[in-house]
């Protein structure tokens, strides 16, 4: 880009995806995946699923987000100010989930069926949902990036997290875990369809909204992010898992290797979705170009 063109064109945000921004991308995805898996695990009452989701949120989500901060040792300033912003609330959701989830798993293991177990399941479930949701709200609230500024974004992130959750539930079931394989597969298929629909609506409404968000959509469809969009989201995240789901329906049986491949593709698709959403977020030119 020529020096004189600086900021008179659409400029994409870089802070939350380039260089160390990669940590934030992983944190955002891990929040969705962990939250989604916990909710799916509650549905199946799977202790294995709960443990894995707890690890994903506590270690990957919490860890990468902390590493991303310029001054991680000051993170306590964030968690003591829930009134300030959704970023603060998000950190609190993560901490509360880790706390409630740990107690809930202990209760499920030693005191299954107790009232306390149910109470903690509800509380950890609410926190897991909030962890999966808040990253979408953070982006939605940024009015300078019109592509993100949509109520559909948190919904998309939740559904994407649930899809990943059902995918991991399939893997747990295949490994002899406490989950019904057929039910997990069915859930996975429905969530996949819902995600395809949501992604389509999201891109359509973003391109219809105004020029800057249309730019963001074009950036994904034919700009620098296009390979990640077409290969990561469309091929790996949608076409291959859909093909496997359809084949499973027709043949009534699928080998474990194929199913695990499908789940891996779904997870790569989810990562790619978060990546292009962050990468393609663009600002309006600072000063409008003359005609």
């Amino acid at each position: 880009m020529e020096a004189h063109q600086w900021m008179i064109h659409y400029t994409r945000q870089t802070e939350w995806i380039d260089r160390r921004g990669i940590f934030l991308w992983i944190a955002f995805y891990a929040g969705g995946l962990g939250g989604g898996l916990y909710l799916v695990s509650l549905y199946f009452n799977s202790l294995w699923g709960m443990l894995i989701s707890w690890l994903i949120i506590a270690v990957i989500k919490g860890g990468t987000h902390l590493v991303y901060l310029g001054k991680p040792l000051r993170f306590w300033r964030i968690i003591t100010r829930p009134q300030t912003s959704w970023l603060a609330r998000g950190f609190i959701f993560v901490m509360l989930f880790v706390f409630f989830g740990a107690i809930q798993m202990a209760l499920t293991y030693w005191l299954p069926g107790s009232t306390a177990e149910i109470v903690f399941k509800v509380m950890a479930g609410i926190m897991a949902f909030s962890v999966a949701l808040y990253t979408g709200i953070i982006l939605k609230n940024i009015k300078g990036v019109p592509f993100w500024n949509s109520t559909l974004l948190p919904v998309l992130f939740i559904f994407c997290g649930l899809l990943g959750g059902f995918g991991l539930a399939v893997v747990i079931a295949l490994n002899g875990g406490d989950i019904n394989l057929a039910a997990a597969e069915t859930g996975s298929r429905w969530l996949l369809l819902a995600n395809v629909l949501l992604i389509g609506i999201y891109l359509w409404q973003a391109s219809a909204k105004e020029n800057t968000s249309k730019q963001s959509v074009l950036e994904q469809l034919r700009g620098h992010s296009a390979p990640i969009f077409w290969i990561g989201i469309v091929l790996l995240g949608i076409v291959i898992p859909l093909g496997i789901a359809l084949a499973g329906l027709i043949m009534n049986h699928m080998s474990s290797i194929v199913l695990v491949t499908g789940v891996a593709c779904e997870i790569i698709g989810g990562l790619a979705l978060r990546y292009v959403v962050l990468k393609a977020g663009a600002y309006k030119p600072l000063v409008a170009k003359p005609q």
């Binding site: 880009m1 020096a3 004189h4 063109q5 600086w6 900021m7 008179i8 064109h9 659409y10 400029t11 994409r12 945000q13 870089t14 802070e15 939350w16 260089r19 160390r20 991303y68 901060l69 310029g70 001054k71 991680p72 000051r74 993170f75 300033r77 964030i78 100010r81 300030t84 912003s85 959704w86 970023l87 603060a88 950190f91 953070i138 609230n141 940024i142 009015k143 300078g144 990036v145 020029n211 800057t212 249309k214 730019q215 963001s216 074009l218 950036e219 034919r222 700009g223 620098h224 393609a280 663009a282 600002y283 309006k284 030119p285 600072l286 000063v287 409008a288 170009k289 003359p290 005609q291």
Partner: protein
Amino acid sequence: MRWGMVVDLSKCVRCYACLAACRIEHFLPMGINWPRLVALETGGDSPTVSTYSVRCNQCKDAPCVEVCPTGATTRREDGVVTVDQDKCVGCRYCVVACPYQNRTFLSKDKDQGFFPGRVVTDFEKAGKKLYKHQIGTTEKCNFCAERIDAGLAKGLKPGIDREATPACVNTCPARALTFGDLDDPNSEVSRLIREKKGFQLHPEYNTDPSVYFIDGKIGQSDEPKVDDKADKEPEAIGVGE
């Protein structure tokens, strides 16, 4: 009282003195600028270059203040939006939320010294003592709040007395920058905005910037812009590099 600035686009001569003055005033690391110059060509066959001297707009409804989870970014009573680097956790939410892209996260590579690995100049040594910049936190223009405060304490008037006025305004050789109280209808800034139809950047964000522009042909709110043409097919984003 609400401090504000008026940038006269017809007077700016693109000398970059405002950037230099700010660097000296705040001992800015080499990798960052608080004010910036945006230059653009206009006029098709016989193009002329127009320049915008931009800096943090000290927005009245500042998105950066709204999103800061630590209370590091606040708006003072006089309208200046400041960052307390001792409180900033470096989450960069404010950097992303500023629709004018006026904030910079100070990473290590942006503060490698003027002559990396060779010599630390006396100017840099003085800066480390007088104006600390913390790596891992966020920075932006603060309308030289330290000059305003020190000047007011001495009974001086920002915008009129040089000692109490932002460094870039003092330095501008073309007198393109004017500083003063937006709440005072008799101040020079209020008069310029009133008489010369001062306009703010992107008023549609409802941020109510305290920096106004006058006498510019581009971007005036009553002029058609490329962005307004719904039928124009936009190009893919140039990815900014």
